[in-house]
Amino acid sequence: EPEVTQTPSHQVTQMGQEVILRCVPISNHLYFYWYRQILGQKVEFLVSFYNNEISEKSEIFDDQFSVERPDGSNFTLKIRSTKLEDSAMYFCASRFDRGLIRDTEAFFGQGTRLTVV
């Protein structure tokens, strides 16, 4: 069964360093998302990406964050200069959209746990 895959599963980085989180969405999906979950808190929307551009972003997604689809399969989240408060689980999700209600469902990856020290 197709699934969203994320790498690495766990990354430790020093404060101020750049980090790139990688995701391979389901191959025929058209919408891509990043969410994050700070330990013990709820899952929060960061950004959505469609047709090679950001379609919506939250207040959390400031200039330190960027997303890219460098090729036909990968979808990356870059944090330019990590802060301690960026420590969280980051989830990638994707969705197929043919304009049908049943395409509303987003499929999530297993997450990348980012620890900033």
Binding site: V43, I101, T104, F107, F108
Partner: protein
């Protein structure tokens, strides 16, 4: 503003007992509703969803939920829980639109005791 509320942060229950996890939402437009489960150290797995049609929806692992538009609720139920159901449960809504981003509740930890 659109929001999702899960009033219970933790629900302890004995094995084989019934359980209900509560979810309420706030919206002035139509919504699509979801329940996700997160087992320890794992990702988010879809339990069930309401998009349209019958207000009672059945999901995996014996869970079901009922959409109540007048009460703006989407409570999750299971008639008999197992130890293996111990996990964090998240209610989420999307309000449609171009991006269909999900708005999550704060989660409810279901702790099943023997």
């Amino acid at each position: 503003a659109q929001s999702v509320t899960q009033l219970d942060s933790q629900v302890p229950v004995f094995e084989e007992a019934p359980v209900e996890l509560r979810c309420n939402y706030s919206s002035s437009v139509s919504v699509y509703l979801f329940w996700y489960v997160q087992y320890p150290n794992q990702g988010l797995q879809l339990l069930l969803k309401y998009l349209s049609g019958s207000t009672l929806v059945k999901g995996i692992n014996g869970f079901e939920a009922e959409f109540n538009k007048s009460q703006t609720s989407f409570h999750l139920r299971k008639p008999s829980v197992h130890i293996s159901d111990t996990a964090e449960y998240f209610c989420a809504v999307t309000f449609g639109g171009a991006t269909n981003k999900l708005i999550f509740g704060t989660g409810t930890l279901l702790a099943v005791q023997p």
